[in-house]
Amino acid sequence: RDQLICTQTRQKDYSTDLGVLCSYQPGAMLKPKALTKVLDQANTGGIQCTLLLNQEGSLMAFAGRSDKKENITAAIAANIWVSNEKGAKTALGDESLQFIVLDCSEGKVGIRRVANLLLCMYAQKIVGLGLLKAKVEVLAGYLEGPLTQIATPS
């Protein structure tokens, strides 16, 4: 998990470069290549692709094989999550949405919150619902720590 995060130790002042006064503060940053490799580890046994997106629907990372437009997929998945979450707030009070499975005729999608992002996994229709859920849960558990470190407060 430490390989997902790199920490800058030098402080640099960009004021002369940008023409405005700003400075770069040391902090944790994600390594995109390492993140993609981690997401790709789930793409076995019928899992076609794994996406990491924010709740506004913007794609953060993607791994796998897909003939669909991933940014559109991310936007739709985020929209479904947000609408289900809002629906639950009115009906189920304090309960929070933990996981969604979308069962379609040609495949399944699992969506789970990780830190302040959403982890989304596409599976072929032959993949069992339980296996899809288990894979998403394991990957989410693995990413929770590093992503929480770099999560921006909402």
Binding site: D67, K68, T73, I76, A77, N79, I80, S83, N84, K86, G87, A88, T90, A91, L92, D94, E95, S96, L97, Q98, F99, I100, V101, L102, D103, C104, S105, E106, G107, K108, V109, Y122, K125, L129, G130
Partner: protein, 124 residues
């Protein structure tokens, strides 16, 4: 017909441990038939909650993996399994520890009843 359906759904409830209610509604969330246990959350029986499925299923059908058949949502203490039988929606609400697979199998058991209701509400 609705009385028979209500009795049928009432008989279904105890077959899955933790199943709290089964609702058949239209796309807007208006109930046609329902049966619920006393511990079912009351607000989940109302159109604002039931109606969110039609938007979600429409969007899920645009993901490029075919038509959406069902959506399973897991919350802190409950799970909601909703089946798309256009123009009807079947919603099953259960505790989070209930067996999702058994709830899924209820769809097959209810197939005949849902088909009859679909035929009744479909405009030729």
């Amino acid at each position: 017909m609705t009385e028979e359906l209500h009795k049928y759904l009432k008989r279904l409830l105890p077959t899955v441990e933790g199943l709290q209610c089964v609702i058949i509604s239209d796309r807007d969330g208006v109930q046609l038939v329902e049966a619920h246990q006393p511990d079912a959350p009351a607000a989940t029986l109302k159109p604002p909650f039931l109606g969110t499925f039609s938007i979600a299923t429409e969007q899920a059908s645009k993901l490029g993996i075919g038509k959406n058949k069902a959506i399973v949502s897991y919350y802190t203490c409950h799970q909601v399994v909703q089946f798309n039988h256009f123009p009807l929606v079947v919603t099953c609400i259960a505790s989070k520890d209930a067996n999702t697979g058994l709830i899924y199998s209820l769809e097959e058991d209810m197939h005949e009843a849902i088909s009859d209701l679909q035929a009744a509400v479909n405009v030729p």
